[in-house]
């Protein structure tokens, strides 16, 4: 490993990270299937809760954008491209999963609604699948 280019090692690290992510996602999905669905209590002040949610979303999105910018500058464009492309797969899969399990005429009536943790598991898993898909087939259009 001594003559390995540090850039090569970064790609390998991404491979290992997303492999672990895929396993973690499977564990989360199986474990969550055995858990009771979490009870979400309605907030006492819904308008305040909505306002806080919106402000928090803006702040966290801004911070995430800043951190992603740092990550983009520090990482190699190929690795960052793989991770970015895969993230789109994760978001789309998460949204579709949420839709299918949220509808009673689809999976909702059979399997019940998804918990938030299950959704996170789906998104992590699909991010890892997306990463390895693009790693094999490439990101070129």
């Amino acid at each position: 490993m001594s003559n390995t280019n540090p850039r090569d090692w970064r790609v390998l690290k991404a491979d290992i990270c997303f492999g672990i992510l895929a396993i973690a996602s499977l564990v989360m999905l199986v474990a969550e299937s055995f858990d009771d669905l979490e009870a979400v209590a309605a907030p006492e002040r819904p308008l305040v809760a909505a306002g806080v949610s919106i402000v928090l979303m803006l702040i966290l999105s801004f911070l995430a954008a800043r951190f992603a910018d740092i990550d983009r500058r520090c990482s190699e464009e190929y690795t960052y491209g793989l991770i970015g492309h895969a993230a789109i797969i994760a978001v789309m899969t998460g949204l579709l999963f949420h839709f299918f399990f949220g509808q009673s005429f689809l999976f909702g009536s059979v399997f019940g609604k998804m918990s938030a943790d299950s959704l996170i598991g789906v998104m992590l898993g699909s991010w890892a699948i997306g990463y390895f898909t693009y790693r094999i087939r490439g990101t070129a259009s």
Partner: protein, 65 residues
């Protein structure tokens, strides 16, 4: 996008790792570009063009001609 990276590298007798080192990218990135699996960004395309002392359009072909 087609490119002549593999040919140009072979003409200089460089390995993928050696070219990756000169371009400051990973060997996997060089391999992905050579096999057409990754289109390099404009800054990287410029670095490649400078390294081989050729215009970008002589190395990369977007098939639009």
């Amino acid at each position: 996008m087609n490119n002549k990276l593999k040919v140009l590298r072979a003409m200089r007798d460089w390995s993928q790792a050696e070219l990756a080192g000169r371009l400051d990218v990973s060997r996997q990135a060089v391999n992905a570009i050579e096999t057409g699996k990754h289109d390099p960004s404009l800054p990287l395309a410029f670095r490649i063009a400078r390294l081989f002392e050729m215009p970008i359009e002589e190395i990369f072909d977007d098939g639009q001609d």
